[in-house]
């Protein structure tokens, strides 16, 4: 995968989709509570944590898709207004760091997640073009 802004934003959506498919209530609560973050290590062990608790999940499929020489990934979330969530994605690579900023509407993400997004996340199959296109639309280009 090319390290481009849209592709990295899609990766943010995929991590959230996996977390959401594992525990809808806790994921929503964590993202809306402000100050939540997702950390992923080199092996793909992922953790969404914040004031409301901790959710551990497998982030390997997303990590494999990113393809960069990554040490860790950190995504910090901020609740900007209503259901609008801002985020900063940091890729700590073996050499250097990369940061991407963006935002999305959690309501839209959840609505999508009841259908195509979560089915794909549950199956951990991320090669559907329509799935990527949907995430790109929600997370912005």
């Amino acid at each position: 995968m090319e390290l481009s802004s849209p592709e990295l934003k899609v990766a943010v959506g995929k991590f959230i989709s996996i977390a959401y498919s594992k525990d809808k209530g806790l994921t929503t609560q964590l993202l809306l509570s402000g100050g939540a973050s997702i950390t992923v290590d080199e092996q793909g062990h992922a953790k969404l944590s914040g004031k409301a608790g901790i959710l551990v999940f497998n982030g390997s499929p997303v990590l494999e898709n990113i393809g960069a020489n990554i040490k860790t990934i950190n995504i910090s979330f901020s609740n900007e207004e209503d259901m609008k969530i801002g985020y900063t994605l940091t890729l700590n690579m073996k050499f250097g760091r990369m940061k991407v900023k963006g935002d999305f509407d959690l309501d839209e993400m959840i609505t999508s997640c009841s259908g195509l997004l979560c089915r794909a996340a549950k199956a951990l199959k991320f090669r559907h073009a329509s799935y990527d296109a949907e995430l790109k639309r929600i997370l912005g280009n």
Binding site: S4, F95, R97, G102
Partner: protein, 152 residues
């Protein structure tokens, strides 16, 4: 006499090599990686010793060479360049270069690079890549990687 002539001939060449600006050094590197050979050997002359040592150690420990090389060949992320700024420390052995542009999807991207001078050559020691939401958020002055990261 022949020795003196040789020396006179070589002196300006050495002086030019030692005074190559950071951006020129970056351009040479950018040009060099266009063939994307996926081999670490070709990149050795563009990075500080500690970066090369770390890359070689990562490959030895099992990291795929093409991933290591792709990480070091970061300029390929930028498709269209729009501006660049550089600054060097008073002693002239450390400098920082910021290169702004757009990546493949036309989103803004900025590289902030730390350079160190080793044996008269500018070598890359650290890197921070920023992908802000708007082109107006690209830096308009030279930033070292830590500075750029803190202000992102």
């Amino acid at each position: 006499m022949k020795k003196i002539l040789t020396l006179l001939f070589l002196l300006p060449v050495y002086a030019c090599a030692a005074n190559v600006a950071l951006y020129e050094s970056y351009q040479n590197f950018e040009e060099h990686i266009k063939d994307r050979s996926n081999k670490i050997d070709g990149l050795v002359g563009y990075f500080a010793k500690e970066v090369v040592d770390q890359a070689l150690s990562d490959i030895k420990k099992g990291d795929a060479e093409d991933k290591v090389v792709s990480n070091l060949s970061f300029p390929h992320i930028m498709k269209n360049e729009i501006s660049h700024f550089e600054k060097t420390a008073a002693d002239g052995d450390v400098g920082c270069l910021t290169v702004n542009g757009y990546e493949s999807s036309n989103s803004p991207v900025s590289f902030s690079l730390l350079y160190t001078k080793e044996q008269g050559r500018w070598l890359i020691k650290d890197m921070f890549i920023a992908m802000p939401e708007k082109v107006e958020d690209l830096p308009n002055y030279a930033q070292c990687p830590d500075e750029a990261e803190a202000s992102f």
